[in-house]
């Protein structure tokens, strides 16, 4: 066995820190990741005093050989089993850089822990055992690194002592693994022959491998470069929250790409609202900032009180994100239960959260054989798949190839993050034309000096659409009229717009019945009325389209004004539509009216009661 020595024979590190970087160590179980890390610390003399002695005592107690790995496999169970269970962050300063080196487990069972570690990294050391060669997790980790956005990889062929430092063994592994990485569009920076246990090529080139002329593992770290190009991209600022702690209404979020400055015109997607940046807010910073860039957590105020909520993405007008309810993506699944079609999940993309389901599983990607792409009805734990997702409402996003942070997402199953994905394609849904119309119309809209916020303050309510749906002869019209009467009686600006009222006027030129054009025009009229700050009440039968399509189209055209749907049925039989309220054969219409009004209040659309949380979007 090797005797652990602390040999600070290198020049002492230049210890003024100029920059920081996260690196992950990955690879198949038992290929020596933790040992490599332990050796790196020991041989650079960067371990705290007494650490080696402490580990020696533990090993002696357990009757084991000294293991460098125990330096970071902190849990008793990890030391007893000789494997890493969970990712550990370790700190290492060298050459003016502060590294966080993340030791990830290599056992398949702990893949979710490996992924958690690698997702934080900018670069990776991928360790392969020279004796065992390329194994399943060597490949799976390689594939996951490329999906997690870790583009800089150096491969360490470890345990070279077990193959007598043979060049041909090393070259065979290098060739096989380079070919595999090429399929993932990854080019390793270096492939280093090493022995962590014997300290070969760890901190300096060693005579055992005279045929190797590249850097040691330690020297290779300096060749990983910091990510800087994100600031050169166009702006992406996902809104995290809206604060009203004092007189200021501050929008906060972390800039994920590009830059912004005071005076910039921002447009928010998918709401299409726009305003100029008035100030950039900061605590304990004098003078306050006038600009900000990717990576920064910022707070801004706008020159106009427009509707903004968590989940929207702020950009400059000329470079907006994509918007759809359907996306195609490559997904890795970590959930205990398999991913299933039509099971409800929550998609989280940047700060947006939206219910979603899987529309199609196109194929399963086998990490150990990238050419084999078979289909399957579900995606099991640790598998990678090509899928199409359908979200309940439209989301703003980018393709991963263009923007990292707004091009990826996670899926939440019940309480847990259960999978992660990168978006490869926008899939058009049937709302695409209406969405384009709304975007172009909003963008060219000539505004007065009175904003939606001013109207809400004055009227004591916000604009909304209340849509009564359901079969004929359920007294929808009666309830709609009653609701209008009660609201106006309370002094609200409410208006009942029956779709029939457009037929002889605005729609008089429509010779044949064109349901798409009828609903488009109806939607635009509703949009105009909501822009006056009104609560618009309507029924749906005259529109002669499936209810779901009517609701979706109205939502697209009046976006971001909320559409509240009330379903009326004669009796409750079978599955009911997903609506805000359901009334079955109501007898007391006063009660129904009060329920609708209570709902509007609970959503913050009608003043009182003011929400207790200051950040409620609709609080007046």
């Amino acid at each position: 066995m090797t005797v652990p020595t602390t040999r600070p024979n290198n020049p002492p590190p230049d210890n003024a820190i100029r920059e920081r970087m996260n690196i992950v160590i990955v690879g198949h179980v038992d290929h020596g990741k933790s040992t490599l890390l332990g050796r790196l610390y020991a041989d650079t003399g960067t371990l705290p005093i007494g650490k080696i002695e402490k580990i020696q005592a533990i090993c002696k107690q357990q009757g084991k050989e000294f293991e460098y790995a125990f330096l970071f496999d902190a849990f008793l169970e990890e030391q007893q089993q000789g494997i890493t269970i969970d990712t550990a962050r370790t700190f290492f300063s060298w050459g003016g850089r502060q590294y966080i080196i993340i030791d990830a487990p290599g056992h398949k069972e702990f893949l979710k822990n490996m992924v958690s570690g690698a997702a934080r990294a900018e670069a990776a050391l991928l360790v392969i055992d020279a004796l065992e060669g390329v194994r399943d997790q060597s490949k799976r980790h390689g594939l996951l690194l490329s999906m997690l956005g870790v583009k800089q990889v150096t491969v360490v062929v470890n345990k070279m002592d077990l193959v007598n430092y043979r060049e041909d063994t090393f070259q065979a592994i290098e060739k096989e693994y380079r070919e595999f990485l090429t399929q993932l569009n990854v080019i390793p920076q270096y492939v280093i022959p090493a022995s962590a246990k014997q300290g070969i090529n760890i901190t300096q080139p060693s005579p055992e491998t005279p045929w190797y002329t590249g850097p040691s593992v330690l020297d290779s770290l300096a060749h990983f470069h910091l990510e800087s190009k994100r600031t050169e991209q166009t702006l992406r600022l996902p809104i995290q929250d809206v604060y009203k702690f004092d007189a200021r209404r501050i929008l906060v979020g972390r800039i994920t790409a590009g830059k912004l400055k005071i005076g910039d015109r921002l447009v928010f997607s998918p709401s299409n609202k726009s305003a100029n940046i008035q100030t950039i807010e900061a605590f304990n910073l004098d003078p306050p900032p006038t600009q900000a860039e990717a990576g920064q957590s910022v707070g801004i105020t706008l020159d106009e009180q427009i509707f903004v909520e968590r989940g929207q993405i702020a950009t400059h007008e000329e470079a907006r994100p994509l918007v759809s309810t359907r996306i195609r993506a490559n997904l890795f699944w970590l959930g205990a239960k398999p991913l299933e079609i039509r099971r409800p999940y929550v998609l989280r993309l940047a700060t947006r959260e939206v219910p979603c389901e899987v529309a199609t599983i196109h194929r399963i990607v086998d990490a150990t054989n990238l050419d084999d792409r078979h289909t399957q009805a579900t995606v099991k734990r640790n598998e990678v798949a090509d899928i199409t997702l359908r979200t309940k409402s439209p989301i703003a996003f980018d393709l991963y190839a263009h923007f990292e942070t707004t091009g990826r997402f996670v899926l939440v199953d019940e309480y847990d993050v259960a999978g992660g994905g990168i978006i490869t394609e926008l899939v058009q849904d049937d709302q695409e034309d209406f969405r384009t119309e709304a975007r172009e119309r909003d963008s060219a809209w000539v505004k007065g000096d009175v904003g939606a916020e001013d109207r809400a303050q004055r009227y004591g309510h916000r604009a909304a659409v209340v849509l009564l749906t359901g079969p004929d002869t359920t007294a929808k019209g009666f309830l709609a009229r009653k609701l209008e009467t009660v609201l106006v009686g309370e002094g609200r600006h409410a208006y009942l717009l029956a779709p029939e009222n457009l037929q002889r006027g605005l729609d008089a030129d429509l010779v044949d019945t064109k349901p798409d054009e009828i609903i488009r025009r109806f939607g635009e009229v509703v949009r105009l009325l909501t822009d006056t700050g009104s609560l618009v009440i309507s029924t749906t039968n005259a529109l002669q389209l499936p209810t779901k399509q009517i609701v979706q189209t109205l939502q697209t055209l009046v976006n971001p004004i909320p559409v509240i749907t009330i379903h009326m049925a004669k009796e409750l039989i079978g599955p009911q539509p997903d609506t805000d309220l359901i009334f079955a054969g109501p007898e007391n219409f006063d009660d129904c009216t009060h329920q609708i009004i209570a709902l509007l209040k609970s959503r913050g659309l009608l003043a009182e009661p003011a929400s207790s949380r200051s950040d409620s979007q609709y609080s007046i």
Binding site: I17, R18, I49, T90, I100, S116, D246, R254, S297, S614
Partner: protein, 266 residues
Amino acid sequence: MKHIRQLEDQSVYILREAYKNFDNLAMLWSMGKDSTVLLWLARKAFFGHVPFPLLHVDTSYKIPEMIEYRDRLAREWRLNLIVGQNKKALAEGMNHTKGRVECCTALKTQGLKQLLEEKGYTGVILGVRSDEDSTRAKERYFSPRDKNNEWDFRDQPPELWDQYKLSFPPGTHIRIHPLLDWTEINIWEYIKLENIPFLDHLYLDQGTGKRYRSLGCAPCTTPIDSTAKNVDEVIIELRNTKVAERAGRAQDEGRGMEQLRKDGYM
């Protein structure tokens, strides 16, 4: 100082995620350098406001200057300070001579547990750092604790990119760790950069050739030999030391910390 601002941006993001997603949120404040930096980061994140209560689990054995400092900042920064204490254990005479791990468990772990139960917090923000000890190195930014406050380190949820664990079953809570990526040196660099008021009488050498590197209860915390008289000298000292930060903290000996943390210790 760009690397310090990067850490700040990340921690501010985490604090804002916590505030947005947890209705009943609180932050632990021990008045030590780390949780005071955490408190300062909250003021950064919320533009001078601290929109949740600060909890101090008072073992009654703290160094007196710490309590004075706590009350002064609470007043000046208009903090909602809540002090908890395991009064029953103290009445029964608990102290470190009955065993260090036993004392920490009773006065800190149980004291915290009582406070969390009483107030029903679903999110608790703590200033632990990965480089303090090797079990903390394995923490998530958002880390679930079960009904008994226990940490199941064998089966931690995945944490991808900036997507944290924000939902949890009833009866459990989430520990939030915005400082995991900060080192001890980073803490001091930030204190200097932002000019954050800290317990200088304890953390700096007052002419005795000694200073505290880590603050805890008076009986179980010993000062280190040091001549650092200002923050710059502390940073230089730390860059050149190989002594572990918590070497002066008695409860860390042997496997003390792994057991304490599994049972719900900070």
